[in-house]
Assembly symmetry: C2
Homo-oligomer: 345 residues x 2
């Protein structure tokens, strides 16, 4: 008999209902669920039958309250509309599903306010771990999270202060190889399109591009800062370049990601600029769509899924041993992928 019955709505079954039906105490039901070895096979079977009959579903809020922690992992991605990040998320998911840990996915959309509200949520929920690609200045928040027992791993961003473990892809190398490639095919004025400038990825790739140009001697970087990094921003960025006087117009574009690159490609084509003859374009990420673009896009391939699974694995390690003395940084290597948009000289 359920302990509380309403004339219209049957109350949702709880441990005590299951216990009553199986003729045991609530503690035994809890043991059956959480430490089956402690319960005799016969009782186990009776309890299972009772659970099935009543359709019992444990209340996670109560469980978490008692446990003091939530076994879910929170993840905050920069832009859910960018296939690069969905690939990373899939890498994460694969690892977590195997450990049967729920993944809560949040999209900051490059807006600090949204990032903060997800951090609030994760903090209130006492998540056991958080994966984040930060937009705003959240180091204080992350420190607080860690102090409260939530493990933190940075994704695609090295922690400057080396406080947090991180998994990233070598942006310096990526920026360098993309730029060197453009220089090698004879380009000299390179428009770098991306933003905001404060974003770590943008900052590093741009700095590496400038360094490569300087080292080469006759190369030059023109920075066009955008507010976000989608195709629309790319179209806008391309228009800025086209407004420059002929003599200052770049002969190549290095886009901070492929979405921007695709936007640039569209705008240039629309304006009658020949790609790659007049302006070569290289993107970043090598998302699936780069290869099937109108003019197949050269890009700097990032092992996105691998990044995700490495991050998830690392996070699980940190959770298992939060006091683990060492902060680990894993850095994966990007790879140049040459296609038509930078073909020939």
């Amino acid at each position: 008999m359920l302990n509380r019955v309403n004339l219209l709505v049957m109350a949702v079954a709880q441990v005590r209902d299951v216990a009553a039906l199986a003729g045991v105490s609530p503690a035994t039901v809890s043991n059956a669920l959480n430490h089956p070895a402690k319960v005799s096979p016969a009782t186990l079977a009776r309890i299972q039958a009772a659970i099935d009959e009543l359709g019992y579903i444990r209340n996670d809020a109560a469980r978490q309250l008692r446990a003091g922690t939530n076994d879910a992992i929170g993840m905050i991605v920069l832009d859910i509309a960018n296939p690069f990040f969905t690939d990373v998320a899939r890498g994460v998911e694969d690892v977590l599903i195997a450990e049967s840990r729920p993944l809560i996915l949040g999209n900051s959309a490059q807006e600090p306010s949204r990032e903060t509200s997800y951090l609030d949520l994760f903090e209130q929920q006492r998540m056991s771990g958080v994966l984040i690609t930060p937009v705003g200045d959240v180091m204080d928040r992350l420190r607080r999270l860690r102090d409260r027992g939530t493990s933190v791993v940075l994704v695609d961003r090295m922690s400057r202060a080396k406080e947090f473990s991180s998994v990233s892809i070598d942006d310096k190398m990526g920026g360098r190889i993309a730029t060197e490639h453009l220089l090698e095919i004879g380009r000299r004025r390179i428009g770098f399109i991306g933003g905001p400038a404060g974003l770590a990825q943008v900052k590093t790739r741009l700095a590496a591009a400038r360094a490569a140009a300087e080292k080469h001697g006759s190369g030059e970087i023109v920075f066009v800062e955008t507010e976000t990094m989608n195709a629309q921003a790319g179209r806008w960025g391309a228009e800025q370049l086209l407004e420059l006087p002929r003599t200052q117009r770049p002969d190549a574009v290095f886009a901070a990601n492929d979405l921007v690159a695709l936007g640039v490609l569209q705008a240039l084509t629309l304006a009658g600029v020949r790609v790659p003859d007049d302006i070569a374009i290289i993107g970043y990420d090598d998302i699936e769509f780069a290869a099937s673009a109108a003019i197949p896009l050269s890009s700097v391939r990032q092992p996105a899924q691998q990044l995700g699974s490495a991050a998830a694995t690392l996070l699980l390690d940190v959770i298992a041993d939060p006091a683990g003395s060492t902060v680990k940084h894993t850095t994966l290597k990007p790879e140049l992928v040459i296609r038509r948009s930078t073909a020939g000289a």
Copy 2:
């Protein structure tokens, strides 16, 4: 003074610590947080100061346990790697953020087992609402969820039994206009690529295509069933078509979504088939990348973000009045977008 202090780790502040610091009772702190009107401005200020000083963050598990419900909304999408679904998710997010309701995003990746495990999670968490585009046969699960007080709205899928409110896009119309367009430009044998066949969207679009072909008289549909709906499946599907004897080879492909269409386009191009001359291609969804494909892709545009916001709005209505007598179905209209992949005759 914190009520429990460890030599090494300062305990996380709780209501009673805040209360003690502010010189009030825990009940007043709770009121300050949840019903500020009930608390005098002076006390409110003191409590706020105490909260800031201690860095108090409320424990959501305790709150939810007491409240009996979680104010978060769960959403299960078919495929996070498909821009169509991320667009839908963004529409949902926009609405929910405005209501400051957390969105928990799960990716079923078209796998019933993953779908089920997210449903388990949402059920255990006593979510107040769930948005789902079902893969497997989950009607029983959804019914149970509803009986337990979680509101359910189906996305991009009409509930056959009309039990649940839903928001969808008219797949019948979409299948028809795509097929009619191919017939109008003179194509007769149309390969329909997508799957699995059980998926509602696939079923409906295919049926509509067949109906349109039949009505026309000389049209014919060849169905190539795939396991999923990504570019790889599209490449595989295209290869199946190419293996057919010349006489049976279609002169057009209707792909169940744009990812598949892009895969088909790649494989056909690689095999030296001219698009659209030899084989025309039309996709479905009109994702952003369709327009910038090697051969810009004709498609059936679906108002994805609008679908998402409509679904979220409807769900909030249902949550506000779960007993609301009427089950509502909103159907949005798709739109034909013609580009080069089906241009000319």
